[in-house]
Symmetry: C2
Subunit: 198 residues, 2 copies
């Protein structure tokens, strides 16, 4: 019953500790100097390892960015949750949540670009933010708000999907298409949820 000779593989604890360390440094760089500061070379220096070591732990830079996504999405969810607490009327809660969602991204365009538009997001071989943290939980949050409006059961899913897509569309357009005279964001958002609360 002899243990294997040689250096043992990384333990579960070591793996998690390293990933956490990388995540913290990546987030610090991002918050301090923006997205461009999160380069592999700069991040490895901050962590205190060689650039190639990052590739031994992560599939690529996008996987590292996903750690940032999780933090941003959690922050957005808190913001939305806080807005829902301001009222108890189902339609008003939904409206408040939608407005909070859109305003969060518009107030943090860098975050939006990080999560929705960075590093080949959307490529067929690149995962999206749906794999990050409890994102389905965020979708569920909106689904619950819609269910409280008491629509037909089969409608909840379609309405939820349309709501999420609509809110993301409003955020994207406001952030990226700045030289078009959009109506007030709140008005567009309310128009988008018009058919969802009907």
């Amino acid at each position: 019953m002899t243990k294997a000779v040689g250096r043992p593989p990384r333990s579960e604890t070591e793996i998690i500790e390293f990933r956490t360390k990388v995540s913290q440094h990546a987030m610090a760089l991002y918050r301090q100097d923006g997205f461009e500061a999160v380069s592999i070379r700069r991040l490895s220096k901050a962590v205190g390892c060689a650039p190639t070591t990052l590739y031994a732990h992560f599939a690529g830079k996008t996987e590292i960015l996903m750690l940032l996504w999780a933090e941003v999405l959690a922050e957005m969810a808190e913001h939305v949750q806080a807005s829902v607490k301001t009222t108890s009327d189902p339609a008003e809660r939904l409206k408040a949540a939608a407005l909070a969602f859109v305003s969060y991204w518009i107030d943090h365009p860098d975050h939006f670009r990080l999560v929705f538009m960075s590093n080949d997001v959307g490529r067929s071989d690149v995962d999206s933010f749906i794999e990050t943290g409890d994102v389905l939980g965020y979708f569920q949050m909106f689904a619950d708000l819609i269910r409280n409006l008491d629509p037909k059961p089969g409608d909840v899913k379609v309405r939820t999907d349309a709501l999420v897509a609509g809110m993301i569309g409003v955020s994207l357009c406001s952030i990226t298409v700045r030289n078009y005279p959009w109506s007030a964001t709140s008005m567009i958002t309310n128009q988008v949820i018009e058919g969802i609360t009907a």
Copy 2:
């Protein structure tokens, strides 16, 4: 009255001819081998000039990509226009146009990524597709369809903005968030325009 000595600057014709040449080669590379094939080095070889010459004519790669945007957007507009011709009922025309818009991008995810998600699109110092070709004309097309529904005049602008943002949101989500079980795109799209046709 002697003309200046020395080589004259590029004529208007020369400028346009070169830009057209670059545009054609960029489009050929893009259609043949995808977005990644449109590299400065590869494009300059195809055009038959030095890489730095491209920078003498364009502010950067993004400006070259805008030439591709114009072509893609024109193609999308044709697709949408063709769908509108299938019916004469205002609400049905709007629905057909919205579905055609969304299906165009979903059928051409590379085009969507090219126009909405490539090369720092959304950065505060980078222009968006709104500067490309007759984009305001495309917005106007949807505005006209909505105006034919006879809503209150002040409503047309908000409804148009919400429609465009909603359609783009649906396209973005379908293309980038593939590992979430979205409802059928047509159902989401119809739900998005529910409050616009009401």
